[in-house]
């Protein structure tokens, strides 16, 4: 059979031109970030060179890592701690709730679920005011990041319940019937049959929560004040405000800021390169729905 191309030569050139054009646009910020991290303080704050004239990457990294406020290991593990508490809570409580909704009868259950879904429209800002008030009044505001993760242990992520429910409903009833006949309790059946069959859903939730927690700025801006509690989200502003004094204009040491940005990117880069497929599937899967 004769092999023929889908595109004419002119079309192909056109196509590649635009593909490459947008690649340059997409890569430009990252490229500029990278080369700024190579520059000396003087070059980074005075000239916009496309190829750095000074190569002080090692010195910049040393400066950043040695800065007294920039305790990167601590900030990273603080972030991981918050992430684990949030993701674990959501995986456990939301899948429990979803299983209840998917497999058991209860009067008005569907109406109840609809009401819960509808409240997702209420903006977080509105819900946040009384919760902030409560956390300040009870003194829990600065205790072990409680305001950031406690709601996750009460199955409050309705969207995740919805997602779990979709998957649990498609689970064949036969498995569960068989388990029941064998005298297996409902909770045992849940952990022995339902959870193992839905590992990809749990992976999706964990990945989404990692992105969500790592990127979150609202929570840390509101609840994280003590230096020892800082999360990765607090790490950039240390260097942005390094030479800030009073209200007058000040120099931003872009070379140090860039190094801090690159360090903050590393966990995401690692995750992205090892789990690209699951990563993209999780993100698009939920992007389609909401």
């Amino acid at each position: 059979m004769k092999k023929y191309s889908l595109y004419s030569k002119k079309e192909k050139v056109n196509l590649y031109f635009w593909l490459i054009f947008f690649s340059v646009v997409a890569l430009l910020p990252l490229y500029y970030l990278l080369i700024t991290s190579f520059k000396s303080l003087e070059e980074a704050t005075t000239t916009a060179t496309m190829i750095p004239h000074s190569f002080e990457l090692i010195e910049n990294i040393k400066f950043v890592l040695n800065h007294e406020d920039y305790n990167v290991v601590r900030m990273f593990f603080n972030t991981v701690l918050v992430f684990v508490l949030k993701a674990a809570g959501t995986c456990i409580t939301c899948s429990f709730a979803a299983y209840g909704f998917a497999k058991f009868r209860f009067p008005g259950k569907n109406a109840l679920f609809f009401v819960m879904l509808a409240t997702m429209m209420v903006p977080g800002e509105l819900l946040g005011i009384p919760i902030y008030e409560f956390m300040v009044n009870t003194g829990l505001k600065n205790v072990f990041y409680i305001p950031l993760w406690v709601s996750c242990w009460f199955g409050t992520d309705v969207f995740m319940i919805f997602m779990f429910k979709q998957f649990f409903e498609s689970l064949p009833m036969d498995y569960l019937e068989a388990a029941r006949i064998d005298g297996c309790g409902e909770f045992r059946a849940f952990f022995k049959i339902v959870v193992p069959l839905n590992v990809p859903v749990y992976t999706t939730v964990i990945l989404l929560y990692f992105i969500g927690t790592y990127n979150d700025l609202y929570g840390p801006a509101l609840y994280v004040t003590e230096k020892k509690d800082w999360l990765m989200a607090n790490s950039i502003s240390i260097f942005e405000n390094l030479y800030k004094s009073g209200s007058s204009s000040y120099i931003v040491p872009w070379n140090y800021v860039s190094v801090a940005c690159i360090i903050a990117m590393l966990p995401v880069v690692l995750l992205f390169s090892f789990m690209q497929k699951q990563f993209l599937e999780s993100v698009t899967g939920t992007g389609l729905k909401g």
């Binding site: 700024t36 509105l126 819900l127 005011i129 009384p130 700025l217």
Partner: protein, 304 residues
């Protein structure tokens, strides 16, 4: 099965339902229902966080926000401008990229990865990365403009007139996820349509306008409103770009930032912030209502 044992089975079902979902139902009361009611009550008062006593003010907060507070209107206006234009920008960029990626040429997987790369910058770092790029004094963008002989170099994020525009440009780099969603939709269009069109000699553009666009337009439309609602709620970028208070001269003050400032910065005016939150909620509710109606219209059209 006998009537009694059936009844027993139902009862067992009820118990298990409550055992499994009980915690989530409690959570719903604590983290949704209570805050919704509490915020409504607060919105009629002048409560600040540390005040022990406060007065009932009726609709005063609402009236003040809607008639006197110019900053409130400015923040709402800016939120809408930002949400709408960044929504359109993201939509166009992600649609164009999805179309490019749907072509069958060599190396397409490589380009797909490249287009996803801006996505790996954590959103708390996005502000710093682009501030460096758009820096009015020695940033890359102005350096390029200078090469092209532009005299009055824009101040970008540092100028009150251009700060919001800069934010919109930056947000249009956030095409990654939507691009993949659109790509999936385009690739979901059945090949047979295209083959039929090719047999009839339809051009590439014609095929796009007559086949691809109509078939994916419901989803496209859905996404415009979704992105707009998301944009109205967006906080991170404006918080970083405006140093948390809408700098310069309130030009990046989006509504969530203004509310954040009112409620959680001194003097912690919870009452007034609650009223603003409710007005904001009503706006989002209206938009969601429109989206719901329009999506029904589209579904019916699909069936017929």
């Amino acid at each position: 099965m006998q009537g009694t044992s059936k009844k027993k089975l139902w009862k067992k079902d009820y118990t298990y339902f409550l055992l499994f979902t009980g915690l989530a139902l409690v959570g719903f009361l604590l983290f949704y229902l209570y805050p919704i009611i509490r915020t409504l009550l607060l919105s009629f008062t002048d409560k600040t966080i540390f005040a022990l006593s406060y007065d009932f003010k009726g609709f005063e907060n609402y009236i003040y926000a809607l008639t006197k507070d110019t900053l409130f209107w400015q923040s709402i206006k800016q939120s809408f401008i930002y949400a709408f234009f960044s929504g359109i920008a993201v939509l166009i960029t992600s649609m164009v990229l999805a179309l490019l990626l749907s072509s069958k040429v060599r190396g397409i997987v490589f380009f797909k990865t490249v287009y996803m790369l801006p996505f790996i910058i954590p959103s708390f770092a996005v502000g710093a990365v682009y501030k460096n790029l758009f820096n009015p004094y020695n940033g890359f963008v102005n350096e390029i403009l200078r090469l092209f002989g532009v005299k009055n170099l824009p101040l970008w994020y540092a100028g009150p007139d251009t700060a919001l525009l800069t934010m919109i440009i930056i947000s249009s780099f956030g095409f990654g996820v939507k691009m993949l969603v659109f790509l999936a939709a385009i690739q979901g269009v059945s090949k047979e349509y295209y083959e039929a069109a090719m047999v009839m000699g339809a051009s590439k553009w014609r095929r796009f306008v007559s086949i691809t666009l109509p078939l994916i337009s419901p989803m496209l439309f859905f996404n415009v409103i979704l992105i707009t609602i998301d944009g109205l709620k967006s906080f991170n970028l404006a918080f970083v770009m405006g140093n948390g208070d809408g700098w310069p001269s309130n030009s990046t003050l989006l509504f969530p930032i203004y509310m954040f400032k009112t409620a959680f910065n001194s003097p912690f005016r919870l009452g007034y912030a609650s009223a603003m939150a409710y007005i904001f909620f009503l706006i989002i509710l209206a938009l969601t209502g429109i989206q719901f109606l329009l999506s029904r219209f589209y579904v019916e059209k699909d069936v017929s």
